[in-house]
Symmetry: C2
């Protein structure tokens, strides 16, 4: 994460993983979510916080989920079901269940199929927010599989040359196991910056950077000015740009990649695409690739080690200490946060205090 | 394609598709390639020219292939074979066969598997240059399937914060059918710009644009200066940047996406990754997704139409005429070039004249 998005150490309140999990679990339970689903939902959220993916952890998302249950947009007891199936594929109707509850179950189905026929892919329609996409992809790792996850989101991103948002941030996550190295875990929006980063920037009082948004005429803002904040409700005076920012820098590639997610995550689920049906509806897609189906697993993992070591020992560019690979900083952050607690902005702690009071849950976080 | 990369109309020599195909077929035949393989190789190359993907058409690639056969890097009669297989997957040893010959056969296998179990994916090791990735992906369209293709290329791209190239341009292509609209066909390198674009820029006498390359210290060159040209042989004073150009604009995303291609296209084939074994070796990966396995095909195609129409009727940004979608300009170019011939730089025509003379093939292109 860019330094500007980190909670300043002096401001941070560090919370241990265990009481955080207890609290989050009880909040989901108060929303009417069954116990086993509370467990998995908590694991998805807190794993994001542990890995330093603060945009998808409790600070940004839990309050949104509580609001969603309150407004009836989220079904706490979804009757999700497989509506179409082949040996390698399934399509799931999520019955308005939160993605952090239903998608792990879909990923289990994909993994089972990959065990049997080499690959498994499950699309999920009528879904709700996915949480951290890489959580679902990482479920494949312990099975010696590669995991993939994507989600077709409501529109907030301008197509190249366009003045109206048509595509979601549409993240893609892929996790692949290594032997001794931390696994490769990629997880990124196909916009220049994740939508949730804007909320985080607002909370931390930071400007947006050049190349992140286009103005109301659709022109990419490439100067170091303070751009207006999009508000996601159609009244925005600026919108996110696809990865690549401008046509010359390759924004048509970010635009096309976001389109792929609308197809594989949205349309292939039979549930439309990001812009239609639109918020709060999301279409998801998960896949599992059995490494054993393609090649020798031990050799694959050793080659992964060699490749990841090559990447992280690349001579650094002037002014930089080292080269990272996707998943390496997250693994390092997880080690730190498991040992020393998760740093939260005091505002987040206050929200927990309030919601615990409101729901009659003991407040144990500070 | 950016205007600067188009052959100037005044300079162009227009060649009809039919004599071009005849000539290309005979050149492959003179290289010792069997007749049916000449047919498919020609189709891959000329389809790139027809669709306006000049970087992967005859002008850039055919001379490279002729050199490769001459040097023995390419096997004209590869004994390619399946070395591992499950119901949904296969791994192919390409026996140094050119990708434009072997990968279409791998894609046929993937399509057959998708017919039976919903998905099919084939990885190809010991491969050689892929040609236009979207050709292989588009093979799925007539079967009412979505096609995917990627290739793990020798290193030419800097990792974020790195000063040494570690990843290939590693293109990803995905094709998905619509009903009445031209299909969605995405095909892009995960670098800011495709490697072949540099050769094309050299031929056309154009500068590279800011954000395309990093200097020898690994610093992204973001000014409008004339940057030095990389030469791909390790002696380069500049290297390509991943899609996103700088960390602030999201280059870690382009870097990670290129990494995904090294994993799915390279390591999952059992043949290493771009940097190892390195040129002229490439690992490829193709996949086919049966739409019928997931959802109703007619409904899917109608929804694709609706989505593609939404994209191309987006209000354009100030200074632009219209919004495109991936595959739309290529379909329009194909209509034009089928009717009016393919425009080539005179230097390309001269190369054809020379090679036809050398190989005793009648020269019929001008």
């Amino acid at each position: 994460m860019l330094d500007q998005f980190k909670v300043k150490e002096a401001d941070a309140v560090r919370v241990d993983e265990s009481p955080l999990r207890d609290t989050v679990r009880q909040i989901f339970s108060k929303m009417g979510v069954p116990d086993s689903d509370c467990e998995v939902a908590t694991d998805v959220l807190v794993t994001a916080d542990i890995r330093g993916v603060d945009t998808h952890g409790v600070s940004n998302m839990l309050r949104a989920y509580v609001n969603g249950y309150g407004k009836g947009e989220l079904n706490p007891r979804p009757n999700w079901r497989i509506i179409r199936e082949t040996p390698a594929t399934a399509t799931v109707d999520s019955d308005r269940g939160l993605g952090i509850v239903v998608v792990p179950k879909a990923m289990e189905i994909a993994i089972d199929k990959a065990k049997k026929v080499g690959l498994g892919m499950v699309t999920i329609n009528n879904g709700r927010h996915l949480g951290m996409a890489s959580y679902h992809a990482m479920m494949a790792l312990e099975h010696d599989m590669i995991g993939l996850c994507m989600t077709s989101c409501p529109p907030s991103v301008l197509p190249t040359f366009g003045a109206e948002p048509r595509l979601g941030t549409n993240p893609i996550a892929l996790a692949a196991p290594a032997d001794k190295e931390p696994p490769f875990v990629f997880d990124a929006a196909m916009s220049t910056v994740a939508g949730n980063k804007l909320g985080l920037a607002r909370r931390l009082g930071n400007d947006l950077l050049p190349g992140w948004v286009g103005d109301s005429d659709g022109i990419p803002i490439m100067d170091a000015v303070e751009p207006p904040m999009p508000d996601y409700e159609g009244r925005a005076s600026s919108h996110l740009l696809p990865l690549g920012s401008t046509r010359e820098l390759g924004s048509h590639k970010g635009y096309g990649l976001a389109g792929i997610v609308d197809i594989l995550g949205g349309m292939l689920s039979g549930g439309g695409y990001g812009a239609n049906p639109g918020r709060p509806n999301f279409g998801h897609s998960v896949a599992a690739y059995s490494i054993e189906a393609f090649t020798d697993v031990r050799q694959f993992k050793r080659t992964m080690d060699e490749w990841l070591q090559m990447l992280r020992t690349t001579a650094p560019a002037k002014g930089h200490d080292r080269v990272l690979y996707p998943g390496l900083p997250e693994a390092e952050t997880a080690d730190d946060r498991r040992a020393n607690g998760i740093p939260f902005h005091p505002e987040v702690i206050e929200w927990f205090r309030d919601i615990c009071g409101e729901l009659s849950i003991p407040f144990t976080l500070a």
